[in-house]
Symmetry: C2
Subunit: 229 residues, 2 copies
Amino acid sequence: MPAPAPRADREPLSRARVLDAAVVLADAEGLGALTMRRLAGELRCEAMSLYHHVADKNALLDGLAEVVVGEIAEACLDPGATAGSLDWRDVVRRRCLAARTVMHRHPWAPGLIAARSQPPPTVYPLFEALVATMVEGGCGYPLAHRAIHSLGSMLLGFTQELFEPAVDDEQARDEAAQDLAPTMPHLAHLAEVAVHEARGSLGICDTQAEFEFTLRLILDGLEAHRITR
Amino acid sequence: MPAPAPRADREPLSRARVLDAAVVLADAEGLGALTMRRLAGELRCEAMSLYHHVADKNALLDGLAEVVVGEIAEACLDPGATAGSLDWRDVVRRRCLAARTVMHRHPWAPGLIAARSQPPPTVYPLFEALVATMVEGGCGYPLAHRAIHSLGSMLLGFTQELFEPAVDDEQARDEAAQDLAPTMPHLAHLAEVAVHEARGSLGICDTQAEFEFTLRLILDGLEAHRITR
DNA sequence: TGAAGGATTCTTACGTTGTAAGGTTGACCT
DNA sequence: AGGTCAACCTTACAACGTAAGAATCCTTCA
């Protein structure tokens, strides 16, 4: 097995280093400034060298979404963020606020994530933790599921079909759920429930129903404020 | 004054025709397929001809956002959409659903609108109508204002600072509010109220407070569902 | 009738982008 | 010493947005 052959005269490139530099560049000058040549310049290499660490520009953007959502997940799951919270609402609330401060550092992120067809896999630990908190708080899986949809825009900055096209193939979906089970037990369970509820899995939720649910939630909340004002 | 000089042998171009073709193209093949040359091809002209009707590609995208939001506003304000509604919530609910069906036809729209720094002016009639409905429903301007923020993602597909950078200059803001007054009385009034409430106008809301308000709305609504399940 | 004038459209050209193809380098293992 | 292979660079090309200016066409007035 050949060992890696880093040059002695400078830090070798790597997927992580490329993505980190891309995030820094996008933060500083926006997504528009993120070109392969410019990014290479920041890393003191040539554009084509980047292609050894990311497949192409699209993969680079996928990676960016992954990194940012990962940052959000990390911030949300930091125990310090929710220390001393008793109510499940308080935990979820603080997590959403933590997500927001991360998004604030990367204003280009919502648009980027929204543009990808699939949310990056780094959302799963976050959703898993949220569902866990809610279920332990007595919400039950169906409500926790709806909550994830309702909170989507608070966590990632946009609404609209969080899990849209995904997989049409039913068997592939079942396998995906199986893969999820060991590390994401709540999400796996939620997927099962969703199958019975909306004839879809994580991949195919009844987004219309979810939309209407969230809408009613907001309107009813506003009505309550109107009455007690 | 020279009259327009359209060619006899074919329909002349126009800003509206360019934008319409751009919407059709984006709907069919996505925003990525929307290039000046390609769009020109659809219109059976050369790329450079487009520049007489839109300043540049960025202006084209601005125009696209304008058209889509205009479509949304039109669908929402269609009296048929809200006929027979007594409750203000029902009116607003139906408008949001109408907005959603329009967005469904233009899946690229939320990302596009979110990417522009300012929402297109075609939102104003929509917001005006929503505020009017809510105020007449007994909500009061402060609550109607919050409602617009809370409903942002239900109407346009994304959250996150609907009116972000806008104008720093205080005088310019006052003038903008003046211009609004004749056609958008409720929005103009709302802007005044916002100045006192959050030390900002339409241009500078306390987005953090709005975010937290919406978040609590959703969480409290979910909690109510938990209890009564 | 026809020439001017001005809006519209097209031609050509340039710089920048993403990336395919293939050459070069240098650390490691025999 | 020489071979191997990942990492990296050079060159090249098609497609993009768009600047500059020529060509085209309708209108208007002489």
